[in-house]
Symmetry: D3
Subunit: 120 residues, 6 copies
């Protein structure tokens, strides 16, 4: 039987995005935090059926742009979104779509943070 | 030639969601606010090519759940999202997908606000 | 010598806005909260020289619209802003000016909350 | 062996706070949301050793006051905090302590929402 | 007839603030984002009659301090505010005025970000 | 008689956390901002009786993690919290406790910012 940790890890492997560096930095002080990120954010939530990975990433992008102070997460999720099949042009549109709801500063910061991921 | 107001109005008509009541309430005090909502949020942004309406609504749902204090907008956009082809079950998944990013209070409030729209 | 409580109370009296009802509701459970609102928000900050009351209210309106979940405070400060000499039309412009920074949901909620204050 | 759902439910039972009404309202549309609230928020997090329940509730109160638009959650957690041994006077202090970080509107709203819970 | 792009560009030229560097960085990936910033934020909103540029900047400063994660935007708008006639001392007061609403961390970050602009 | 500035300064001295560098940087442009931080945040609020310093710091940590864009403040308060008697392991738990309310991005950022303070 697959545990939710295994299910989350498999989902992260499919999606890519390079979360490993942050997780490793926390491995000694707070090992349960990266473990719970895998188990909950990916095993319990992202791996749920009923909505494909690409559409889940669009919800996440809307959330991260709006939160602010999430450059690192945004870059990881844009990479995941591309691996899930969204093109760079579609992701530019997704970030633009946040403009009327999150405003220009959040969207300008997000697009700037996205530059190297989306032009790669 | 279509103006951006006409383009925005056409997009809103396709999407539904019942923004008219709020717009009418503001018609005397601040008529430019509903006009700019139509022109900018719909004419300039939502009607852009490159990402279909359903996927745009997923970004918006991620943004609105995260912002908080947006029950009215969330209900309008869930209606729009259904008109754009997303099922009620997919929208429940979209709201659930915000959990690791926006937290339980925002998601519990959003799902509660969504109840009547998504069970209709 | 004027205490900062007296200075704050005098400033509130000039500005109006009807904070008394909230303060009275808290008078038994947390009397220091309304006292500190008078002393700090008005005595220490609002009553400072170097920027007149009307311009201070514009900063506050920008802050309150952006925060969200502040309908009651917004109505109080719009009343204060009018007493400080800003017209209803100028306050509609001030709320509109938050659009590119705080987004449409926050501004639509704020303008709706402002309706009865600004059309009075 | 105790599942995390059972562990979460036991923790919620100890803490009280009356989340059942919200959970029941969502039972048909989104049954996994209240289940995950129990499993993750209580079973995975709140029931962790290393910090007692009362001190966990202080962190939560700081978070909820700051988020805004969380009156329902705040009332539930103030009840839980009292059941965990904090007095009403200590909880007034906890809410006051958020003032320099979350500002007066958030704290005035929170204290107003807390009135009936803390004077009961 | 002046287009809203031209009107926005003229307004930005009056206000200064050096947005060009960010806009240029996005020119290849997302050229519509800087174009819409000019058209909407400046052409549609900032250039509206009914409130002068200096008072519009006070609303914007209140919004940006409260949002957080907006150091770059804040520096641009403080420069614009000075060009619109506000003194450095008045802008210090404007940032201070956000204290009771946005709290100390936001205001301390904003004042620190403002240091080189306001002491220039 | 002790002034609130003296009371605030004494509290800060007990708590440590190294705010002096930020305060000094603002000493010329905005000397009243660090003064009011001492007087209000520490003299008026933190030094109140009725809740000990360690428990006050838990509320503050919940607030700062949730606000975001507060790395500097978070490091200062984690230092204060340790000086108030909380262990590094308890502070890891406190940050973890914000997960269901503030979400993973805020908590991952906070734990990363806390690394050097909590492993010292």
């Amino acid at each position: 039987m697959t545990t939710r940790y295994e299910r989350g890890l498999a989902r992260q492997a499919e999606l890519g995005g390079g979360r490993r560096q942050v997780y490793d930095a926390l491995a000694e002080l707070a090992p349960d935090l990266p473990r719970l990120a895998v188990e909950f954010a990916y095993g319990d939530i992202h791996a749920r059926p009923g909505l494909d990975a690409a559409r889940r990433e669009l919800v996440i992008i809307g959330a991260l742009v709006t939160l602010g102070d999430t450059d690192r997460q945004l870059r990881a999720h844009l990479t995941s979104a591309r691996n899930a099949g969204l093109t760079s042009a579609e992701l530019v549109e997704a970030i633009m779509q946040a403009l009327p709801y999150a405003g220009f500063p959040r969207v300008l910061n997000a697009m700037t943070a996205a530059l190297d991921v989306l032009t790669a």
